[in-house]
């Protein structure tokens, strides 16, 4: 019965029907690919508009004095000296906190962790950490580092906060880099009598260093642009002095006093200028934005380049 019905139906369908059907579906296929292209273009054109808008307003304002002047009440005299020095020192502190911890955690999870509830909790936790809003890290740091541990509103507090913030990024990229190393490398190393740590130290870490470096660069570029957690821990918006110099004239020539100094960073300086009503300060904000955007785009571009280079070079 059923078969007959189908046969009867199929006899009624002519070749033209089929061709029309194919045409129709090809048409919708085309429509969708145009839609896809448009949505990509929308995103990229927005990015371009953002860059051009910022550059047109900001680039004419950038000169040598802009980098060597402190912020000022007079927009034409104001500069970002304290901001870029603060950003640099905080980036350094962040890297110092987050890289060893993140890489160690990544190595443990990939090479040592057995499949048990402890490692499952750690994995779930890392996924969750990546989704927690950055401002809650700032609140945690304000309660813990500033008030409980009495580190004050210092560069050290800021570096620790951002270090914890980027920790999941470093862990995840380290794991990905290690996972891409084939097991044959490990087996070869064990066959030569190397211990687990020797295998990691002399084979796994060197071979995954490209991937790890990519993750480190991306996380540091994220740290440079992060604003909200630093405002929350009470970063000042007007700083007209520099932190203590890390290099001193007397023995031992290196000082860590700067770690405890108050700070400002480029995004906070930009925010501060942006929230003033005068358009002259908005120009300063745009100029700061250009510097900030240039740094993050260069870092991210570098990371993408490194990733593709290492992918090409590493052929197992």
């Amino acid at each position: 019965m059923m078969l007959q019905a189908v046969r009867a139906e199929s006899e009624r369908i002519t070749e033209q029907d089929i061709l029309a059907n194919i045409k129709r579906r090809q048409f919708w296929d085309f429509v969708f690919s145009v839609l896809g292209l448009l949505s990509l273009l929308f995103a990229l054109v927005t990015l371009l508009a953002l860059i051009i808008d910022l550059a047109v307003t900001g680039v004419p304002r950038i000169n040598a004095e802009f980098f060597t002047n402190f912020p000022s009440r007079f927009p034409e005299k104001a500069g970002i000296l304290s901001a870029w020095v603060g950003s640099l020192l905080i980036m350094f502190t962040t890297a110092f906190c987050a890289i060893p911890l993140g890489v160690a955690a990544g190595v443990y999870l990939e090479e040592y962790a057995k499949k048990n509830w402890i490692s499952q909790i750690i994995e779930l936790n890392i996924i969750n950490l990546a989704g927690i809003p950055s401002i809650t890290y700032g609140l945690m740091a304000l309660g813990l580092f500033v008030y409980k541990l009495k580190l004050g509103q210092s560069i050290l507090t800021a570096g620790l906060t951002l270090g914890l913030l980027v920790l999941p990024i470093i862990i995840v990229t380290t794991r990905e880099a290690i996972r891409s190393i084939p097991n044959t490398i490990r087996e070869a190393s064990y066959a030569m009598g190397a211990s687990k740590w020797q295998t990691i130290r002399y084979h796994i870490l060197p071979y995954s260093s490209g991937g790890i470096l990519t993750g480190v660069i991306i996380s540091l570029s994220r740290a440079i642009g992060e604003t909200a957690p630093l405002i929350t821990i009470g970063a000042l918006t007007f700083i007209a002095f520099l932190p203590a110099s890390p290099i001193t004239g007397e023995f031992p020539f290196i000082s860590f006093k700067w770690l405890m100094d108050p700070f400002t960073v480029m995004p906070i300086q930009m925010f501060n200028w942006l929230s003033r009503p005068q358009p002259e300060f908005h120009v300063n904000a745009a100029a700061t934005g250009v510097v900030l955007l240039l740094m993050t785009l260069i870092m991210n571009g570098g990371a993408i380049y490194l990733r593709s280079r290492f992918r090409k070079k590493m052929k197992w």
């Binding site: 969708f32 990509l40 990015l47 969750n128 785009l297």
Partner: protein, 312 residues
């Protein structure tokens, strides 16, 4: 090799040789240290939850939970203080909803296009370009929303004020497109090729294959992409702090100014904040509400993913 050397060698290979024992000890110590590093990430979570809860508990000694959840005004720093979270929640949901209206269709279509339509060599260029959107600092997006998008929108909606949720929401939407598209694209591309081939073999077009085979099979991955996008939009701070005006406002009108939970925290943090004051406690309560909100979405995402994985 003479006898003596052989004996030395066999001693060395025995498990009790001091060198071997030292090596075992070192291996153990290193493993413990690496484990502690991995476990420290759990401490971060515990620290965040612990501090947020402990610092916001004293708040509820002043304000009853009922007032907190039902009062329609949020003015903790005024003489006549009100502590109703609703206006902040409203602002947060409004900006997130606008962002999602922008990001989910665009992100999903872009992901499908990149995964199913574009040839791989183009994808290698387009995907990193799209990911550049996520690299732009949020404060720069704030500048863009305030001084580019708002004036642009004012040409179409003349009544639009200088501060409004609409432009902030749209800009957040553009910002989270790469979060949605990148992860969705990864999920779609990991769908095995033979499913696509089977679909093409029975005569389905590329679009039919995308919508009836690839997207349903990649659904759990696409869900986690959406959830990540939602978490980002909920927690986004600088764009709303700059472009949406920081005024708590119980409204669903996107052309009005409003404050989100995050914008309120920034606003209070910019002022001088004595430890233990009610203002100080209020930002922790706001932060805790935000954390609970994002956690809820994450749990829903986890549940959805589980449900769809069971089906496969």
């Amino acid at each position: 090799m003479n006898k003596n050397q052989l004996k030395k060698l066999s001693e060395f290979t025995s498990a009790d040789h001091p060198v071997r024992r030292m090596r075992r000890l070192r291996e153990r110590a290193i493993e413990t240290m690496l484990f502690l590093a991995a476990a420290s990430s759990v401490l971060v979570t515990l620290g965040i939850v612990g501090i947020l809860v402990s610092e916001s508990l004293p708040f509820f000694a002043h304000v009853s939970l009922k007032d907190f959840l039902t009062d329609t005004e949020w003015t903790p720093l005024f003489e006549n203080a009100h502590y109703g979270i609703l206006p902040l929640l409203c602002g947060t949901f409004l900006s997130t909803a606008i962002a999602l209206v922008v990001a989910i269709p665009l992100g999903t279509v872009a992901a499908t296009f990149l995964s199913e339509y574009v040839r791989p060599s183009w994808r290698e260029v387009l995907k990193p370009l799209l990911e550049m959107l996520a690299a732009v600092p949020t404060v720069v997006y704030g500048y863009f929303a305030l001084l580019f998008v708002t004036p642009l929108l004012q040409k179409f909606i003349p009544s639009l004020g200088g501060f409004n949720v609409l432009s902030a929401g749209i800009v957040i939407g553009v910002m989270i497109i790469p979060y949605v598209s990148s992860l969705s694209e990864d999920a779609m591309r990991s769908v095995p090729g033979h499913l696509r081939e089977a679909s093409f073999a029975v005569g389905a077009s590329r679009m039919q294959t995308s919508f009836r085979v690839v997207i349903p099979s990649a659904f759990s991955g696409i869900t986690s992409a959406y959830i990540l996008g939602i978490s980002r939009a909920l927690g986004e701070t600088m764009v709303v702090a700059i472009a949406a005006g920081m005024q708590p406002n119980l409204t669903f009108n996107p052309t009005e100014p409003a404050a989100t939970i995050t914008a309120f925290i920034v606003q209070v943090s910019l002022g001088d904040l004595p430890h233990g004051s009610i203002g100080y406690q209020s930002i922790y309560v706001a932060g805790l509400s935000l954390l609970i909100l994002t956690l809820c979405f994450n749990i829903v995402g986890l549940w959805l993913r589980k449900k769809f994985q069971e089906k496969e």
